[in-house]
Amino acid sequence: MRAFELVTATDCRHAVALLAEYGPFAKVLAGGTDLLVELKSSPHVPEVIIDISRAEDLKIIAVTDEGLSIGALVTHTEIMRSALIREMFPALVDAAHTIGAVQTRNLGTLGGNLMSGVPSMDSGPALIALDALVTVAGPAGRRQMPLAEFFVGPRKTILKPDELLAEIVIPKQNFGKPAHFVKFGLRKGQALALVNVAASLWVGRDKQVFAAPRIALGAVAPTVIRAPKAEAYLEGRAITPEAMAEAGRIAVGEAKPISDFRASAEYRQDLIAVLIKRALEGACAQAKAKRDRET
């Protein structure tokens, strides 16, 4: 690795101050599982690395007035072990579990995963299916936006160079919303997704119909995407296996998968249809289990 200066941020505010101080010459280091790999192979290394991995105020998982707040520095292992997240959003736990291996999950953070901006990121789809918001901290204070609007292209987010991703919030209205995540990789362990999909849905109050269905997909477009046409097709429709399969077929037309060394575009298209059906089935099964528990 080429030489750089290493400075340590004690908390979020300090990290933002350091970003303002070093500006475009600096880059933030969280778990390092993406950044160090990049720095080792890159001829261009930032002059200053701001180590935020000790900022305890970015490691909090808590229910707030807004919803469930997950600090950007929460690791994938911590998500898997959080009693709160296990109870409220098992789909996030499933997604975290598929990331890399134990060693990667112990270092890698949720914020780092989102900031990496790679289309195959495993924490994006489930969070987007749950309408997650991100809170960004900068010199002028904090701003918030839907995660779905955070990604602008491969490895690109709307974060400005002097800003820090501070937290991820799942809004209160989605507490208890059944959701399911599925990832298809070439191996069970330590494999990036060929396609990953998350779905969430409510079941109509009186009838067995889809309400507020969300479908989010990774590795099939330049960013993690939603499938609005498939969602619109499901809204208010009776919950049947045929409807789920049709939603999968519609979503194929909304994605733009590429062929690469892992899989062809055609194969990914087939996966999209199959995985969406499975994600919807999983979310429906969870809705049913919840209803059975409550009655």
Partner: protein, 162 residues
């Protein structure tokens, strides 16, 4: 330079290293602890696995400065003057390793698992070792050794028939 002080295998160690030094390089080049291996250097192989504050991590993906003040356990910290650690003993008894390059990382991943879960299923063992690649063995005897070690650590006799 980054000045670091960490607790390695129960002993306070200090060093002054360039900021871009990884924990793996610090352990191997400054502290002469060459048990953790340099394999891929990008987080894929697990040969560099060490336990930091109770959790297995890839030492090639952590900066020495990030390990400052932390507790690090390497393979050199397992055996005592009385003999091998029960996990090492089980690997020896099962002839689980061939070239042995993956061994320190695998044994530390297994230790972290057994510290938390004294009776893991074969699937849980596979999940815990998914980040440790072995190019020689095919893993079967490694899984068996971890099961044997789990029994030994629980104080049960080795069960060869199972």
């Amino acid at each position: 330079m980054a000045n670091v002080t960490l607790n390695v295998n129960g002993e306070a160690r200090t060093a002054s290293v360039p900021p871009e030094t990884t924990l793996l390089k610090l352990l191997r080049d400054n502290f002469n602890l060459t048990g953790a291996k340099l394999g891929c250097d990008v987080g894929d192989c697990g040969a560099c696995t060490v336990i930091v504050d109770g959790k297995p991590v890839n030492a090639c993906l952590m900066l020495a400065g990030q390990a400052d003040g932390r507790d690090v356990l390497t393979i050199e910290g397992l055996a005592t003057l009385d003999g091998l650690h029960p996990i090492q003993k089980a690997f020896e008894d099962n002839a689980s390793l061939q070239c042995g390059f993956c061994g320190p990382g695998i044994i530390l991943s297994a230790k972290a698992l057994l510290d938390e879960n004294p009776a893991p299923t074969a699937q849980q063992i596979r999940d815990a070792l998914a980040g440790n690649l072995c190019r020689c063995t095919g893993y079967t005897k490694i899984i068996e050794a971890v099961q044997d070690a789990a029994r030994a650590l629980r104080g049960e006799p080795a069960d060869k028939a199972a």
